[in-house]
């Protein structure tokens, strides 16, 4: 089983500490949610785990090998990353965009039939098979998010690290995306998500890591991770955990 880990990972930016000696290890085949208040360092941690940001000290590793020691192309073959605000610079069609996910695999001879099969499969998995010819500018927010997920899946990654993939999606599309992440994890892919929606984190994930002030506050299964005390310490809110008809629910009462 593949493992993404970090040891004493610290990041300072502009004299300010973002992450302070974070150590953790995440296994594939599960959905791991990283939650925490704004500025807690969620995105920074995810970028480091994706090998896209060089930590100030400490290391991030994939199966025990430091990410900085892995060739970018090899890393990209195993690990897909979805940024929080994805940029799409040109008005290409959705299929062309999704094919970019094959970039780390494509040799001098260009796309092969095998590449096309994989892209078809990724498009089917993300439910965007019919959108292939649409220009990305004309897609709705939900469609665009699914196309970007398909782009990530087109690399057949062992890991999918997504920074707030559910933000900006309506509830129905959130459920679709959540179901897709669940399915990927069941297929053995390591899914690591940063989330703002705590109820969603409880329902979707197998493990919740609560970051506060650049440090891991709690790292536990959802059943125990988000206690009233943790929510108070991390977010400064008074909240209770209740059981709704759709699953666990965080009910925020007031600021503390």
């Amino acid at each position: 089983m593949s493992v993404v880990s970090c040891t004493d990972l610290s990041v300072h930016m502009g004299g300010k500490g973002i992450l302070a000696a974070v150590s953790l290890s995440i296994e594939a085949g599960r959905v791991t949610a990283i939650v925490g208040p704004n500025g807690a360092g969620k995105s920074t941690l995810l970028s480091c785990l994706a090998g896209l940001m060089e930590p100030s000290s400490g290391t991030a590793a994939l199966d025990g090998v430091a990410l900085s020691a892995i060739k970018p192309r090899d890393r990209a073959r195993r690990l897909a990353f979805l940024p929080q605000t994805p940029e799409i610079a040109w008005a290409v069609d959705a299929r062309t965009l999704i094919e970019l996910g094959r970039t780390p695999f494509i040799g001098a001879r260009g796309q092969t039939a095998q590449d096309r099969v994989v892209v078809d499969r990724a498009m089917a998995a993300a439910n965007v098979s019919e959108l292939g010819h649409r220009i990305v500018d004309t897609l709705s927010g939900g469609e665009r998010a699914r196309v970007l997920i398909a782009r990530a899946l087109a690399g057949e990654p062992e890991w999918l690290l997504a920074d707030e993939p559910l933000t900006g999606l309506d509830p129905a599309h959130q459920l679709d995306a959540a179901a897709l992440f669940r399915r990927l994890a069941d297929d053995g892919i390591g899914v690591v998500l940063t989330l703002h929606d705590l109820s969603m984190a409880l329902r979707l994930s197998d493990r919740i890591i609560v970051l506060a002030d650049g440090d891991v506050l709690v790292d536990e299964p959802p059943a125990t991770a988000l206690s009233a005390e943790v929510l108070n310490r991390a977010y400064g809110i008074e909240a209770t955990l209740t059981q709704g008809p759709g699953g666990p629910l965080i009910d925020v009462i007031r600021r503390t």
């Binding site: 970018p72 990209a76 940029e87 780390p104």
Partner: protein
Amino acid sequence: MRPVSRRLLYAGLLVSLLVLSGLSLIAGKVWVPWNAWISPEVDPRWAIVFELRLPRTLLGLAVGAALGLSGAVLQGYTRNPLADPGVLGVSAMAALGAVLTLYYGVTAIAPWALPVAAVSGALIGVAILMLLSGSASSLVTFILAGAILNILSSAGVSLALSLAPNPWAVNEIVDWLMGSLADRSFEEVTMAVPLIALGCGLMLTTGRALDALTLGEVGARSLGISMSRTRWTLAVGVALAAGASVAVTGVIGFVGLVTPHLLRPLVGARPGALLVPSILGGAVIVLAGDIFVRLTPTAGEVKLGVAMAALGAPFFLVLLLRLRRTIA
């Protein structure tokens, strides 16, 4: 885009290039028909074709290719359809380098000094662009960085002009600055073409990186693209191709801006798919422009750079008006 229509596009561009190259040898103040091409004994107009128009045509092809590709590559890298070596000040920096060698009269002693200075100027220009824009490369930063380079180099050129030792030097500099393919010899061809070929070769290797940059810098890096390698390959490639072009023809603007823009509806917006068509398209535009200026019924020949600017400025305006919606 389906491969058949892509083949059609290439066929169309190649046929246009062949026709225009033939026309470029025939057309001018003196029309030279095909049958005069056989040998100098048969027809003295042979010299016009092979000593004047052949190098002019070859340079037109090479410079057009260089400018078209530089434009496509810079637009891909900056993710900005307004980018081109002229707008971003790369050509102007190359011109400044060249003008300094003209000013100091170095070219009389060492003819290779001109292309070296022009390429160096272009390289400094691209490097400054990349440093100024950094990782927070928004459309506005790039255009402003280009504006700064353009101001800087035009100030340098003005200084050289105002301090020029004699009116002939001024004349030479001004004449050269306007951009033209007229009266070029094989000397210029052998000087520029290898540099342009090398630059184009480097730029062509960046296709996949430019495609990946559609997803922004973070997106491209997550796909395993090395940004620093891309940046430097591109900088050296653009500097060699655009610098060598400016060295032999002066500043011919807007080719790099217009070419990818005209081709985008035909090949799609994927930056990598635009590279080879932009080589051919740039060559078509420069050759066509050069034939056009040769045939204008004026006493002296209209400078190609001036004609391109006259056509390109309104084009730039239309592009800007269309983009205004997305920027604002």
